[in-house]
Symmetry: C2
Subunit: 398 residues, 2 copies
């Protein structure tokens, strides 16, 4: 049989391990771009295309024998990849989504980058990609930001998207753990999904969700729904497209015969219901315990802000709940609001959930003086753009 | 929200669709290699590395606006891929595994290539990649074989591996259906897993399986286990490695609390038990109905051969069965044999299945005059290498 494990193909791996180079941001080399490309206008079609990168990117190669080579910042451009590379056949790939914010004070901030870096290391492990020190990844991200933000992110109150990715680049068609990998960090123009619409599309601040069909499941206990791996995305695009063609924005992913609510599109999902007995509002969100949903950085921040600032007003129930629970609450007038959270879409109110041939319509904003989603969104925005000084907003000196 | 669907981003798609070019093998261009690389020796380490391709490869680009460009045969070499390409972030990728056989009569044969081509089209759909005419894919595969087989596959009774793959190559970080894709066909040196071992490894003709842990499953109903998509592979490598480190060859993937037997590694699994009541042998294999397992070409051929040649001797039960069923049968002395089937590993006998802290040991070959696995393997080999003239062995005129 094919030997898949580095420890089997290389008998002296444990001895060698200590000699292997670790990911080391202090060794970063820099090759300056000679051509600087045009920066898309705010709200432009180029921005909405989500495919315009800044002038540079970080790459770093890893091999099973030598470990991590010295990282490089170089002009953004195509990769050369073998047609036999593991990442294009076997989805040995994982990524992160982060944003870099230009604060209203003119300073650059990342939002809890340590969380993303640790999650990338966790995701890498799930698809047998190499380990690294998350702090070094954060340093590499900062380095890229320092190089490209003056030209690409000058405007206070704006942001760009950061995409770290780790892919298996070795020529390996065997069912084997990657023997080579490449870390990539790119910085990309990204629209503000939470408050804008593409050119020519009627702006709408709310989100309409379509529940997934019984025969299409995003993730499963024992699978890899908790990891940010490519394998969770491609297979979900068809359902996402189906939702959009039916006039909805995202799929609300259900699981199991009882219709457990898990995630919405690529975002975490929250519902606020009034407790029938205590009359107090209760925040429902799927738990991390069975590893079906992503441990979202925004999700975690939402829960921590509630704990710190709304403990008396809003009880959190991080536990399994079903679409029937939401329908029943709605029928009784107890469903107060629903929202999604994620880096790409930030926080966005849900207006409707389509379940089979029925709608769960959420109360409109004006009917409630206080809504938790928008309140938390504002708090987070204040941290991201430096209006509030907070440990989650990590300043990057230019 | 991001518009993910071609039909939404391009209003005139239905009108345009008729103008879109279809995959067309008759338009194939040919760029001859100028350097011819060394061909690995039979049984060499290069062969076992599964990463030596022949001199040429087929590529064909597709775009949502224009459809399929003219395919090209060109020298095998690296691809240039954008760091923002869909396939390296979102696992928009699928592939096939086939073999090209040099018969004992000196002629080249593919084994049921129509099946692989149709399955690639099916897999493509599952990850939102473009459709194509499977017959055109078969023609492209034949064209590559005709170019490279004289040098790379001269020896009667030998084979090479063919890897068609379709990957999403558009620069798209949005959660979107790929707007560009590339079809790749490569021909790769491949060891004979069914009867050989890597250099320096003790030859062993049997397979030792380790059952998957409860917390790690390969595929689930409503997922994509039935499609040959990259997303099924990368996340399984860690378990595969764990099995090898524990002294086993492959994982036997179980599903659910009752431990349903699904697949072994990347192969289909079969067990032969003696029916307690009729005393007749019974072949158990997981069903295709819930789309958890791959509809293997070898699996299907095994079942069809049994239907045609062993109908009176061996009853087939294509239905759910559990690891407990196998344990109980083993304890009663009713478990006669087990084997796996697949293109990469062909057909291989299973000698042991490890379940928790117990072994299910299969009877050794000499204890039974007739074993179905080896018999069917011989029949298939005869078809593949032209010893038997059969419609499944598709001759390629050079």
């Amino acid at each position: 049989m094919a030997e898949c494990c580095p420890s089997k193909t290389n008998g002296s791996i444990s001895a060698k391990h200590t000699l292997k180079k670790q990911l080391n941001a202090s060794k970063l080399e820099f090759i300056q771009a000679s051509i600087f490309r045009p920066v898309p206008e705010p709200g432009s079609a180029e921005l909405w295309a989500q495919n315009v990168a800044t002038d540079h990117m970080v790459t770093c190669r890893w091999t099973v024998d030598e470990g991590w080579e010295d990282p490089i910042i170089k002009p953004f451009g195509d990769l050369t990849i073998s047609p036999l590379a593991s990442c294009i056949h076997y989805a040995t790939q994982c990524f992160e989504g982060m944003k870099i914010y230009r604060g209203f004070d003119g300073r650059l901030r990342l939002f809890r980058p340590d969380r993303n870096a640790k999650r990338l290391a966790m995701s890498a492990k799930r698809v047998s990609l190499p380990d690294f020190d998350p702090e070094q990844l954060v340093e590499l991200i900062k380095a890229l930001i320092r190089v490209d933000s003056k030209r690409w992110l000058p405007e206070p109150g704006s942001f760009r998207y950061i995409r770290p990715a780790l892919i298996g680049t070795g020529r390996q068609l065997g069912v084997q753990i990657p023997k080579e990998a490449t870390l990539l960090i790119t910085m990309v123009c990204w629209p503000d999904f939470s408050s804008e619409s593409p050119p020519g599309v009627q702006p709408r601040s709310d989100l309409r969700l379509l529940t997934s069909r019984n025969d299409t499941i995003r993730a499963w206990p024992g699978g890899f729904g908790y990891a940010k791996v490519g394998a969770n995305y491609g297979p979900s695009f068809a359902s996402h497209c189906e939702a959009q063609e039916a006039g909805y924005d995202q799929i609300l992913w259900l699981l199991g015969e009882d219709g457990r609510v898990t995630e919405a599109g690529a975002s975490n999902f929250f519902a606020v219901v009034r407790d029938e007995h205590t009359s107090k509002p209760l925040l429902l969100t799927a738990p991390l315990t069975d590893k079906v949903i992503l441990d979202g950085v925004t999700r975690r921040s939402v829960l921590e802000l509630i704990e710190n600032r709304l403990a008396d007003e809003l009880e959190v129930r991080e536990a399994k709940f079903t679409i029937t629970d939401l329908e029943v609450a709605s029928q009784k007038g107890l469903l107060l609001e629903a929202f999604v959270s994620g880096t790409a879409f930030f926080i966005k109110d849900v207006s409707t959930i389509r379940v089979g041939d029925r709608n769960i319509d959420l109360p409109k904003a004006q009917q409630h003086a206080t809504r938790f989603g928008p309140m938390i969104k504002d708090w987070l925005k204040d941290i991201m753009f430096g209006t509030e000084d907070h440990v989650w907003g990590v300043i990057i000196d230019e």
